[in-house]
Structure formats: C-alpha cells, structure tokens
Symmetry: D2
Subunit: 278 residues, 4 copies
Amino acid sequence: MLAENSYGKSGIRLVKVIRREDGHRIRDLTVSIALEGDFEAAHVAGDNSAVLPTDTMKNTVYALARTHPVDSIESFALELSAHFLKEDGPASVARVGISERPWEPLVGGSGGPSHAFLRPGAERRVTRVARTRAGVSIESGIEDLTILKSAGSGFTGYARDRYTTLKETEDRILATAMEALWLYEPREIPWDLAARAVRSTLLETFAGHASASVQHTLHAMGQAVLDRHAEVSRIRLTMRNKHHLLVDLFPFGLENPNEIFVATEEPYGRIEATLKRE
Amino acid sequence: MLAENSYGKSGIRLVKVIRREDGHRIRDLTVSIALEGDFEAAHVAGDNSAVLPTDTMKNTVYALARTHPVDSIESFALELSAHFLKEDGPASVARVGISERPWEPLVGGSGGPSHAFLRPGAERRVTRVARTRAGVSIESGIEDLTILKSAGSGFTGYARDRYTTLKETEDRILATAMEALWLYEPREIPWDLAARAVRSTLLETFAGHASASVQHTLHAMGQAVLDRHAEVSRIRLTMRNKHHLLVDLFPFGLENPNEIFVATEEPYGRIEATLKRE
Amino acid sequence: MLAENSYGKSGIRLVKVIRREDGHRIRDLTVSIALEGDFEAAHVAGDNSAVLPTDTMKNTVYALARTHPVDSIESFALELSAHFLKEDGPASVARVGISERPWEPLVGGSGGPSHAFLRPGAERRVTRVARTRAGVSIESGIEDLTILKSAGSGFTGYARDRYTTLKETEDRILATAMEALWLYEPREIPWDLAARAVRSTLLETFAGHASASVQHTLHAMGQAVLDRHAEVSRIRLTMRNKHHLLVDLFPFGLENPNEIFVATEEPYGRIEATLKRE
Amino acid sequence: MLAENSYGKSGIRLVKVIRREDGHRIRDLTVSIALEGDFEAAHVAGDNSAVLPTDTMKNTVYALARTHPVDSIESFALELSAHFLKEDGPASVARVGISERPWEPLVGGSGGPSHAFLRPGAERRVTRVARTRAGVSIESGIEDLTILKSAGSGFTGYARDRYTTLKETEDRILATAMEALWLYEPREIPWDLAARAVRSTLLETFAGHASASVQHTLHAMGQAVLDRHAEVSRIRLTMRNKHHLLVDLFPFGLENPNEIFVATEEPYGRIEATLKRE
C-alpha cells in the first residue's frame, strides 16, 4: 500500500541581477520544489497524466523570477507555492525551500555605483614557506577569493572552429573562485598588513576593470600588484570560472535582459598565469 | 612580464553508452583540457583572436566522443590532445586529463544482456534503532545506492502547462542515488543476511523493470521488497535523480542515437514514497 | 631508482586564543609540514633511524604555537621551517604551509571586550514554505551560523557513569555550526528585516550568555527570540558542536592556560530543541 | 516553553578488527547516539545533573565494541540502545544510528589468510596526456585507491627529539588513500589491460609486504611495478595516511589487543616518492 509520497526538483540554482540606478544587487538562490498529493496512478500503473515534470518546475522558477521582484526569499517562496498548488490539481501540499548565499558589494577605483561583489567568508589566507640551507622563499596568498562582476565584462572576437557555438557578448557575468599566490622579496615585513594591501589591490582592480576576457582581467590584477607592491617579485593567479548562463525565457513569452542566470559548477573554465618583474 | 600561462575547461562530464549485442557498456568520464602557448595578446591587450573558447573545448569533447570508440581513457585523451594541438595554432602544449568512474553491470531477472549498472562502493549500509520503555523499532537500509539503467526507461504522457519544454522520450538514462530504509518486524533475525537479501531484491527489480517514470520504478522496487520479505513491514524509498542529458550534436553534423550524455548534479529530481502492508 | 621524495604531516588544525585586555583574538590555522632530503634508507631498507615521525611534527606545531606569538601565518611558518631544517639533519628542504580561516569579533549585550566570534560567510539564509488548501506555513532561518565563545563557557556537575572520563571545566571554548528555524505568525511582514533582527538577537544572546552547557545557551537564544520577536511563534535550534580540545603540552615542559586547542570535526555533539509560546 | 529536545554524539568513527584463523575481518562503522527525555533543568537552569556527557557516549561505544561481537550493525545498535535507555534514567527515548563502509579482502602473493583490504569503489582511473610538437607523454594511474593492512605493519627505530611522544609498535593498522601515476614508454599498448595489470601489482605488493613504515611499503610497491612492467619508465606514488588510533580502554577495565580503533581524518601523514629506471 502506498503511504506518503512526494516528488519535486531540488538544487535549482538561480541568480537574479537587480539593476538599480545606484548599483546592482545580487540575489543568489538555491530553490527546491516538492509536491504531495494524489499521485498513486503514476506509482502503481505508470500513468503520468497527473505528473507535472520536475523539469517544468525548474522552468517555472526561472520564469517567475523574471516577473517577481525577488525582494526576499519568503515573498518569492510564497509566490512559487501559490503557483504550484493549483485549484484543481492533484497536489494537496506544495513545499518550497529557498537558501540564499550572500554577496557583498565591492567599491571600484572610481567610487561609483557597484557592479562588483565579494562572497564573504569563502576565502582563506595562505602561506607557503620553503627553507633550504641556501635560503628561504615565502609565497603568500589567498585561496577561494570568490568574486563576481555584473557589468563591465564581455567576450568577443575569439577564435572559432567547427565546434564553436558560443555567442559573443558585450555584457555577461564574470565570476570566479580565485587563487592568488605572490612571492615576497626575502626580508621581514609586516605580513598581515602586506597581505591585506595586496588583497585590496586585487579587489579594486577586479571591480574597476573593463574586462575583455578572464585572461585580460587576471593579467590586469597581477600587473596592478606588481606595480603597487615593491615587496612582491612574482604573482601566480588561477581563476576557476564560475559560469553564470543566461536562461532562455523566450519559450515562456519573456525577454531576459541579462537578469536571470543559472549558476553552474561543471564544467568550468580554468585560467592561470604567472607575472613577474622583468 | 607574463611568464607561464594556461587556460582550458575542466569538469567536462561525459557518459558514453556503448551498445553491444551482449549488453551495454558505460564509460563515465570527467575530462579536462588545457592549452599553453602564445596567448599574450589576450592577457595584455584583451585581444581574443587567438583564444578558442573553453566552451568550444567542451563541445569538441562531446563531438569526438561520438566518433571515437572511447575504448580507453588513454586512447581518447591522445585523440583529444592531437585535435587541440593544431599545426598552425598558437598552442604549444595541449594537456588532456581524464578521470573515469567505474560502473558494474547488474543482472536482471531474466539473466539476459545487461542494461543496468551499479556504481560499486558508493553505498553504505545503515541502521536506525529507536528504543523506548514500550519497545524498540529497527529500521535498516542502504544509503547512496547508485544505479543506472541505459535501456527500459521512458517518460511520456505527463501533465503539461505553459512552462513545459521537456520532450517525451521512450528511451532515456535513468540514474539515481537511492536511499532505502525498511522497518523490520520486531524479532531477532540474521541481520546481515536479511539486508543482503533485500538489496538483491531492490537491484533485480530495478534491472528488470520497464520504467514509465522514476515513481513507477521506485514503487515496483518497494512492492517487490514487501512481497518477498515477510520480515519487512514498511519501506521508505528516496531517489535523488542523477540526470543524464542527451547532448545536441546536430550543430556539428552528427546524430546522437542515445549514446553521448552529459551527467549533471544540479538541479536534481527527488522522488520519495513509503510503502507498507495494508 | 628513488628520485624525489617527501614526507610530512598535513591537516594539523590549530586554534590559538590570544588573550588581551581589550578582548580575545582567534587565530584558526591549518598547518602542513613536509621534509625532503636523504631518506633513502627508510624507503629501500625499512631503516627508520633518519625519520622523525610525522606525529612529532604535529606535536611540534602545538608546542611552538605556545611559545611563538603567532602574530601572522608567515612569521609562524618561518619559525617552524627553521625548526625542522636542523643543522645536522637529513632534511635538505623544509616546507611549511599554513591556511587561516577568519573569525570576526561579536559585540555582546554589554558592549564590553569581545570573547565571542563569528565565522563570516559560512551561513546561509533559508526559508521553507508549505502551502495547503487550508493555509500556508512560513518557517525561516539560518543554516551553518558558525560561532565561537572563548570565555563565559563551562561544563560541570554533569551525570557520571563508569565510562565517564571527561574533566569538568569552568572555562572552555564553545563553538558550533548552528541551524535556527523559526515559524512566523501567518501575516505579511518585511521578511529580510525580520530575519536580520532575529539573527541579531541570536548573536547578542550567544555573546553575552554565561553558558553552563550547550543546552543552556541554546535555550537562552531561543527564549530571547520568543521574548523579543512577537511575529515568531516557535523556534527550532540545532547546534552541531565543533569541539576544540585543549592540547596537553605537559610532556614538552609547557603549561597550556586555555590557549592552544586542536579543532576537531568528528565526533561531534549534536543538541536540538524546540521552544514555543505557551 | 521547551517542546521537543534531543542531545547526543554523532560521527563516532569505530573500526573493529575481528581476528579469525582464516584471516581478519574489518567492520568500519560511524555511530551516532541521541537521547530524548526530561532534560529541562539543563536547558532552563543550567543544571547538568541529568546530563550524561556526549563524551561518555563516545567512550561507551568503544568500550561496548570490545565486549560485543559486532557481528551486524543491527545487533550492536540494539545493545547500545539498551545501554543508554537506563531503567531509572531521565531519557525516555534512546536513538542509535550506525552506518557501515565496506572493505573487501585482498589476496596477498602467498594466497594465505588475508590481512589486507580494499575499500571498493573509492578509486578512479586517470590519465594525463601532454602533447607538444616534439612528442607526447602519457601518464596514467589511479586516484584514491583506498587500502588497509591489519597485520604485517609496524613502525619502530625512528628518530626522536624532545617533542616525540609516539610509541613504537610492531603491529598497527596501515591505511591509505593512494595516488599512483606511472609514465608509459611512448608506444601504443592495450591501455585498459596495462592499467589493470599495474593495479594488480600494486595491490599484491601492498598485501604481501612486511611493512617497516609507509615509505618502505610505498617504495616496494613502486619497485614491483618497475620490475614487472617494462612499459612503465617512472612511477610517482603519494600516500595520504588514514590514521587508525588504538583506543585506550584501560580506564574502563578493558584491554585492547589491537582490536578497537578510531579512524581519523585530520591530521594525516603524507608520503610521496618517485621511482624511475636508472
């Protein structure tokens, strides 16, 4: 005998960029939907006529995110739950869970409205000291510095071959979990202070850069560190790209003016470079 | 000064179903591609003309997986590396990494050719005992039993609304990380033996079932356990759907007869039900 | 032929509480040590006479953390690397890696010196909406709110049996990754504002509480939320205890006045309770 | 008003080595204990007199694992639940959860009783191909090959300094998650077959080796691969040590003849070496 049953979609990753005069705001949500009710025919007889596909649930989240202000996770969850508990549908309970990850605005060089963001707390300060009888090397840095630009980033004019389907864009989200490791000149300095200063340079450059590619921004960040911090002789930067894909809302009669994105983990671009003084 | 640099795509999840007379075979790969070479203009000047997008690298992996036998990870990596180190291209080194996860064939009730598979070792045996002064309940089971059907699974005739874009299919991959928890009648039994027997029933039913949906197969598995194991009075099943999406190879002039899939982690369907004796 | 070789200890979890007049400071480090050099006899002949155990490396990290100020990860790594590259030892390279996780001071109710801390960014805001035809329930909260008290926490007077070896303490580290889920009265409110206010109440109460146990502090936090927030009718709190064990430095001729701790992940205490209005 | 409440210990990692004439058997468990009942005084007034410490729960699991056969997770959970639901205690419900990870016996060179084990399914086959215009290198291997020896492993005669507290042992558990990467001579071979053969050599050598240290066994495994597989010119081995610590049962009036261990994740030894043909 079938007792309780439930079905739905979990792990729906949604990023909405809210574009205001005074800067952007990011809402980074993970949504789950589950329905309970009279779905016995699907279980027992393989009759799917009452089963709204979980793929449709996912589409609905993106479509409603476009028309709803998403001003809080509660208001959006209330809207979604009302949508899924249709008047005459088989579902008797609609459950919506939302989890939100915070992003903090970064101020660019100009001090203008912010279009760059930091995921607070993801990063860790690191150092790697290697000592031999000949001397010691001190390479310090930051791991998992997670940053995002919602303006000032494009990708055009790239090489193409028969397997290229990517569309050129002048306006995309650039997000990355970055590792920066810089080699210090071998002398005593106020280490914590120095690392904080390099971090500021990295963040300011990221926020202010007009990015033609990940490589372009990575290089600008490394260049700025070598320019401003005489105690650094080399810097290695690795950017693990956190792709945010524009959701196609056309099938639902909606435009998507760079507002609704799906955040993906795999596959991911990985860009590395080392800059050093000549 | 730009020293070493590298860029590419990592985490490209590829599942190829190799269809033989005597049953299917699964190759479940995670591929990474990286190029080194003369990409200084991209870094310094934002000139992308030498940069093949990492998105193209991803597409190439899926397209070549269709035409290459993928008979070993080495042979496929050699082919990919040759493709990316073009004669006249900017890359001087092409690196290809592949990691393979194993799947073992399951034998269905009929003993015929296998189209069902088990990811060995992912699962854990569990028990949850709750004792009060009134008595004791013993619920045992398996977590993360990861199984896949490459034939005998469709999804058609489902409910539709304005947000439905999913296409009906008579032949798809059904894969799940399953949790099964069954309640024992309160008496001493040979526990390890009993759990192994229930596990066999679950796997046989999964392998042999003609699946109209996840709900349909889940219910059949629970039903079989209640039918064959008198010591079980209730079973709760949760299937976390591991979606395998058919890759669109049409832009590359290739058909994809249910052979090349991308394995995704998010979002995921989640189906739960409890079956008990009347 | 043996070519390069290296051995050492990784994942050494060290928390140092630096006690100042104006409040405590936390340094939360993960240290790794690796030596390279002439260790061929150990490899080829099983002769361990040149091999300092990796367990000794771990002990050394804790002992030197007691005598060194640990004012930066670089200065501590330099000290450790000098220790391990002994004048006449077999090692020719000593590598020390340190990664630091940040903790931010929390201000208690009194506004006095801080002995409570927040791991920034670990937390996520969540909501769970369940809608039926009869109505809607809205449970909101925070997951993985990671907080630590380095003063004002003891555990004494507990029950004992033949398996009890724990020592009573009036002064320990209390750290937890907390989940708080509160049920709202069913009416529209400014959701983000309300959640921020409840979070403040939770943090203030945690920082200011004279804790006799995890249960005691958990209850005080729930009580404060019900007292101050009329829109909340019920709160469920789960604390996953993050144990910090005092390191025994006595074998090395050192006292440890609640200063050097090892942070552990497993096993962990788990305390749950629900508070509601009468 | 305090409603439901619960407290206990989770993540108690227990490995029991059952020593039989015909070889050892490993039970690798993760145990959780939770009590519900009348613990209001602890919550409200900070009165701990009814609270058995969760540390005592952990001790109890290890002590009872010594006297109980641990012939199934159900029988052991039943015993633990009976212990914690004392006749006159404050607890009204005792919950015990156990999760078991499988280990499969490995056959050594001699074909005798097995004291070596493999964690099935943890491993992944990998390859790393690097192609330049000058040629191609093919390095293949296995990641996370998780293996354990419950006999034939000691660690004695090592270097000591003032921070050494480790006790010498002629009989310990040696367990490791291993990475092996071997470089092939550059010619076409049956890749899957070759990798399976190298894997067999690694496992047989591990199972049969009289280990004086991790370095000693790692070197023997690499040596065996170079000896038996002419197509391999170099092998790099990394062993991440999975420490199993003997539990001190003396405070509970019990001996522990290398039977009850706690499996730990951090800190961990890390041993690396490269062997190549001269």
